[in-house]
Structures are given as C-alpha cells and as structure tokens.
C-alpha cells in the first residue's frame, strides 16, 4: 500500500519513511520489506527511540512532517493505511506537496545559460562548431546543473561515447563526478 503511494507521488518533494519497531533487530522486518519490494526508506528502531520521543505506547503510528521539519499531524496507535481514512489523509498530504511545488522560474543565470546555448546551437548548425562550443561551455559554466547543455557538449567532443553502439552512461557519470 505504501509502495503504491510512493510510486504515485514519489519524487523530489515527498518521502515515505517506514520505521520498523523491532527490538530483535533487522532480521524480523527484512522479509516483509523484501517481499513488498519497497523503494522507500526503511529504518530500524530497535531501541524504541521514536516511540519514547512521541510518548507512544502502541503502534502502528503515523507522522506527517512538513518541508520545514514541523510535525503537522500524528496518529499514535492504529494508524493503518489500508483504512480509507488514513489513506485519504496521506494522499491529500502528498497531493498538496505536488501542487505547491511548481517548478521555479528559471533564475537569471539559468535564463542566460539557455540563451547562450541557443546561440551556440545556431553557430554549430552553421558549421561554426568551435564558436558554438565556446558558447555552450560558457552556458554550462553558468548553469552547471543543466544536463542538456552538458550532454550536447560531450556528444560533440566525444562522439564515440554516444554514437558508436550503446550510449556510454558510465562515462557520463564519470564526467559529472569530475565536474566536467
């Protein structure tokens, strides 16, 4: 059930954290977690730290914590997401996160980077490859997170990594790691 929510809403803005309250250690929750094929975070609270912090005397418990780390809702005991009431609450909680997190307007630098990229593309298409690439490098420096600019540069500089057989993604990760 949680896995379904994570898949539907998962991404940049939401996170499901499951806490296994098992004093005996990781071996008890592990089969459950593996069987359910979960992709969200699963933590182990063998010492009952969270229950103690919350003053909870029973589980299952649910906590909704917002983007600023503020506790917005808690249900101590009988928090069962298979029940429509809690499931609806979780969906609303995540649904709001998605609507409030519209993509930011590009910053001035990011906008300038895109302009330079477009100018570079024009030059490149006119056969002025070196001039175009100089602009792309400038653009890439302005907005280092713009993967499209990165890739375009790499593809021209290192065609063998892109066009000879399968694209070499390991090589791309290396480039990113080394800040190129």
């Amino acid at each position: 059930m949680w896995q379904e929510l994570q898949q539907r809403y998962g991404g940049e803005n939401i996170q499901i954290v499951a806490v296994a309250v098992d004093a005996q250690g990781a071996e008890l929750p592990r089969p459950y977690v593996e069987q359910a094929g979960v992709t969200f975070v699963v933590l182990l609270d063998a010492d009952n730290v969270l229950c103690r912090m919350l003053g909870a005397k029973a589980i299952p418990n649910g906590l909704f914590i917002d983007e600023q780390g503020v506790l917005q809702y808690q249900k101590l005991g009988r928090f069962d997401v298979r029940e429509a009431e809690y499931r609806t609450m979780a969906e609303q909680w995540f649904g709001e996160a998605q609507t409030t997190a519209a993509p930011d307007e590009p910053s001035a630098l990011e906008g300038r980077a895109l302009e330079l990229y477009d100018q570079g593309l024009k030059l490149y298409r006119e056969g002025r490859v070196d001039e175009g690439m100089a602009l792309w490098r400038e653009a890439s420096d302005l907005d280092q997170r713009n993967y499209i600019i990165h890739k375009q540069l790499w593809a021209v500089e290192n065609p063998e990594k892109f066009y000879d057989g399968p694209v070499d993604f390991d090589w791309q990760r290396e480039q990113l790691k080394e800040g190129r």
Binding site: I14, Q15, V17, V19, G69, A90
Partner: protein
C-alpha cells in the same frame, strides 16, 4: 531518564537518527525540504 511528553503538533520534530536495515545511519533532517510520512510498525 527524562519522561517523554511527546512532540507538539506545529513544533519542530526533534532530530533523530536511526539505522537502515543494512546499518546505514539516516537522520530525519536529511529529508528537510520534502513532505514526509513516517509510519512506524512492528512485525510482531
């Protein structure tokens, strides 16, 4: 040991660090900037 009175709704959630099932330490504050649902359950 201090007695626990719980965490107030509308208050900052205290820092807590717990291990994953594979022993890697994770703090809830690592998820700052995201909406969290924490659910606690036991396999017993």
């Amino acid at each position: 040991m201090s007695t626990t009175t719980g965490v107030a709704i509308g208050g900052s959630f205290p820092e807590v660090t717990l291990p994953t099932l594979d022993g890697e330490a994770v703090s809830l504050s690592q998820f700052r900037g995201k909406r969290l649902v924490v659910f606690m359950w036991g396999s017993w």
